[in-house]
């Protein structure tokens, strides 16, 4: 046996996971190899030191969990995504201005081309200045309500349903870019039964979410009706983990 082959068996020995045959082969090698015996001692020392890093959970873990169950904080009621106040204000104002024709630069183009600019603004909080507003991207109704509340824009309403849908998409895309992950929005709640989407977490507004490994995305998309999902890849372009969202009302 080569020393390089012995290494995995040394780990199996430490973990009591070697088969009797593997253990016999390892012991035979150890008898004739001082280097691997020394290596085993080091690994044993490291494991012992690691095991010593074991900590008891602090008492406030349990008390904190139970406290939050009994008295849920408003901001913990559903998953929040943070958008900078001024980014949203700028985006909303831009859409309004475009909608009313107040910005002439867009007059020669498509009337609602500003949606893309709104998305770009929302996706770039670094340039957005101070102050934050919070809203959920998982429930379109709540999103609109909270946006209006947070921004205190009063009479602001989306110019039309298409723009509202585009804004929602911009929200998802901005979230994907900011979080550094891809977003998969599943409008058919039955998709939660897919084996790859185990343990979806239920939010209090009725929406659900879970995280999917990038390599599982293909098989999930293959299982879905294309009309029932939307996919927002992160702009970094690399393989990213995927946050799967089941908006409220989809189940």
């Amino acid at each position: 046996m080569q020393c390089s082959e012995a290494f995995e068996l040394l780990c199996g020995h430490l973990d009591h996971e070697n088969t009797p045959q593997e253990e016999a082969a390892l012991q035979a090698h150890l008898q004739s190899c001082a280097g691997c015996r020394a290596l085993l001692r080091q690994l044993e020392e490291n494991d012992a030191a690691l095991a010593h890093l074991h900590r008891e959970a602090p008492p406030q873990l349990l008390t904190g969990v139970m406290e939050r169950l009994k008295n849920p904080e408003p901001e913990k009621k559903r998953k929040k995504w943070h958008f900078h106040f001024t980014a949203i204000a700028a985006a909303a104002a831009l859409v309004l201005l475009i909608g009313t024709g107040a910005i002439s630069i867009f007059d020669q183009g498509t009337k609602y081309a500003g949606e893309e600019y709104a998305a770009a603004d929302a996706a770039d909080p670094a340039e957005a200045g101070q102050g934050e507003a919070e809203f959920s991207v998982e429930s379109s109704d709540t999103t609109k309500e909270q946006k209006s509340d947070s921004l205190q824009l009063g009479a602001y309403t989306p110019p039309n349903a298409d723009v509202a849908a585009s804004e929602e998409k911009a929200d998802y895309q901005a979230m994907a870019d900011r979080e550094g992950c891809d977003i998969l929005v599943l409008h058919d709640g039955s998709a939660a039964q897919l084996p790859q989407l185990q343990n979806p977490e239920k939010m209090e507004d009725g929406s659900m979410r879970c995280t999917l490994a990038a390599e599982e995305l293909g098989s999930v998309l293959d299982s879905l009706d294309p009309d029932t999902y939307e996919y927002f890849p992160c702009s970094t372009g690399q393989e990213n983990p995927v946050i799967v969202l089941f908006p409220a009302g989809g189940a």
Binding site: E17, L39, L53, M66, Q198, M203, T211
Partner: protein
Amino acid sequence: MDDKTLITQILEGDQAAFSALVERYQTPVYNQILRMTGNEQDALELAQETFLRAWRGLAWFHFESKFSTWLYRLAANCCIDFLRRQKKQRTVSLTTDDAAVTDIPDRQMTPEEQLLRQERQTAIQRAMALLAAEHRQILTLRVINDLDYAQIADVLDVPVGTVKSRLARARMQLRKKMQELGNQPAPYSSISTGKEDA
């Protein structure tokens, strides 16, 4: 009382049963997260978040796996979300701010031996913080939380063969970091697991 009975009671609205379940698993979950985040405050918050996710998700848990496996997977997902937010998967703070270095003195050890042990504890904590997230994770599950290969495979959703090879690479990397920190001689430094890390 076994997990299944507790969970049945929880689903009937019994918060005390959930408290018992948290008490049962809080220490392994806390340890799993502590070694991933590198500091106690984040570990406390993420461990609480893990149990709150479990509370919200219990209705979808159909005992297809052991409850503990499902819970450790939730904890792993919480860590992934956290590390992604931090954008520094390989650069967890080196601050040794948990209580690892404040060992209870062992009366059977000489002061020199106790000092050595303390240095080794500090070094192993620093070395762990220098490892890739997946190596910290698997070493914690195996050595600190004492999960066997089959359960680790379930938690990470990988084959047992992957657990074996990943653990071997993780231990090799840990030993290398210990050497770099001057805490471990190299009996021979050229040994390789045959599969180098990225």
